[in-house]
C-alpha cells in the first residue's frame, strides 16, 4: 500500500505553490547577461578585416565598406546559429552578444538587419546590449 501514489504528497503540495511555468508573452523571465543572443556591432571599432565573415560557419554576417575606413555590418538572423564565433574572432572587439533572443519575424526581409543604420522603429525590435554604452556613438 505504501507504494501506491508516491507522488500524491508532492502533487497536493504543488497545488499551493506558485506555478513554475509562466504566461510567456505576458510575463517574461530574466535572461542572464552572458546569453548568446543577437549580435551587436560597434562601428567605430571595426577595421574591416573581414575575419568574422570568413570564420562565420553560417554566412550570416557581412561587413560592407560604406566609406573610407567606415564599415557597416549586415547581419542575417535567419542564417545565424548563435555560436558567437564572430565575437571570438574579432580582433578589435567590435562585435558582442546581447541577451535579446526574441528575433522571430513574420516578414522574411526583416530578418536581415543592417546593424549600423538602425531606424528608430527597428531599434525597439533589437534593443541595446544589457550593459549601457553611453559612450558609443556608433550604434545609432
Amino acid at each position: 500500500m505504501k507504494n501506491i501514489g508516491t507522488v500524491l504528497l508532492e502533487a497536493l503540495k504543488s497545488l499551493f505553490k506558485k506555478p513554475v511555468t509562466s504566461e510567456y508573452p505576458l510575463k517574461k523571465r530574466e535572461i542572464h547577461g552572458s546569453y548568446a543572443g543577437m549580435i551587436a556591432f560597434e562601428q567605430n571599432k571595426c577595421i574591416g578585416c573581414q575575419i568574422c565573415v570568413r570564420n562565420c560557419p553560417a554566412n550570416a554576417i557581412k561587413i560592407p565598406k560604406l566609406a573610407d575606413k567606415v564599415f557597416g555590418c549586415e547581419f542575417s538572423m535567419a542564417n545565424c546559429i548563435f555560436c558567437s564565433q564572430c565575437v571570438l574572432s574579432c580582433p578589435k572587439k567590435a562585435l558582442h552578444t546581447t541577451d535579446n533572443f526574441e528575433l522571430a519575424q513574420i516578414d522574411k526581409s526583416k530578418l536581415i538587419v543592417k546593424l549600423e543604420e538602425l531606424s528608430p522603429e527597428s531599434k525597439s525590435v533589437i534593443p541595446e546590449p544589457a550593459e549601457p554604452k553611453s559612450d558609443n556613438p556608433a550604434s545609432q
Binding site: 501514489g5 507522488v7 505553490k17 506555478p19 511555468t21
Partner: protein, 313 residues
Amino acid sequence: MLLALLSILIFPGFLFLFILALAAEYIDRKLYARMQTRVGPPWFQPFADFIKLLSKELIIPELADRVIFRTLPLVACAAAATAFLFIPVYNAESIFSFKGNIVAVIYILTIPTLTYFLGGWYSRSLYSLIGSMRVLTQLFSYEVPLLMAVLAPGVLASSWTFSTVINFYQANGFLFLVNIISFVVAIIAVQGKLEKVPFDIPEAETEIVAGTFTEYTGPLYAYFRLAMNIQTISVSALLAAVFMPFGYNLGFVLGVIVFLLKILFIIVILAVIRTIFARIRMDQMVMLCWKYLTPLALFQIFLNIILKAVITQ
C-alpha cells in the same frame, strides 16, 4: 408539458448539463496542471476548445461508414445526457422516476462506451481498431465491479430505485458510511469508464495515437469530447446519489449547492488519481479488476446482506 420540456432543456436538463460538463473539464484540467506546477488553462478554455473544434474541417475516412461515423458522437452525447435525467439532483425524486432506475442509469451509461467502440471500429484505421478492441476489453473488466459496487447500497435499502435508497439512508443517519468499500471500488472503476490515467489504455496517446478517436476530427470529435465530459458529470451524479445520500431535503437552492459540492468532490478525486499514476497495461487492468475490485465489491454486498439481517431483527 411545458415544465417537463423546460426541465429537459434547461434545468436540470441539457443547458445545465452542458455548463456543468465544461466546468468539469476546466476543474479537471486546472487541478491537473496545478498539481504539476503548471499555470493551467483559463476558465473559458473548454468552451473555446469546443467552439474551435466545431469550426474545424470535418474529414471522414474514405473506407468509413459515413452515416454511422457521423451519428455515433451524437448518440454518445444523447446517451450520457439521458442518463443524467434519471439521477436526482436537489430532491430525492429525479425528473423521470421509475422502479429500479439505478440499474437503468448504469446501462444507459454503458451506451457511450459502446459508441466509442463502434466509432473506432467503423473508422477502419489500424490505431482505431486496436483502440476499440481495448475499449471493449476494458468495458468487460470494469463493468462488473462497477455494477456490483453501485448496487451494493441498494441491497441494504432493499431497493434499486434512487428515491427509496436516498430516503432510506437519510432516515438512518450515518449508515451510508458502511458503503465506503464499494465507493472506493466504484471510483476506481469509474476512472476506467472515463478512460483516464491509469486506465486511459484505449486512447493511450503514446501507443496508439488517440485510440478510437484517431480518425475523428472537427465537430464530431467535439461531440465525443462533450460526451466524455457529460459522462463525467452523469457518473459523478450517480455516485453522489448512491454513496452520499444526504442533503436531498434542503430545498432547491441549498440542495443544488450540496449537489454541486458532491460532484466537485468526486471530480477532484478523479483528477488526483489521474495525476499520481502511470498508465498500466491492458492485462494488468483486467487483472486488477477481476482479482481485487470484484472480490471487494462482492464483500461489500455480503456485508450489506448481513447488516440488513441485523437491522431488520
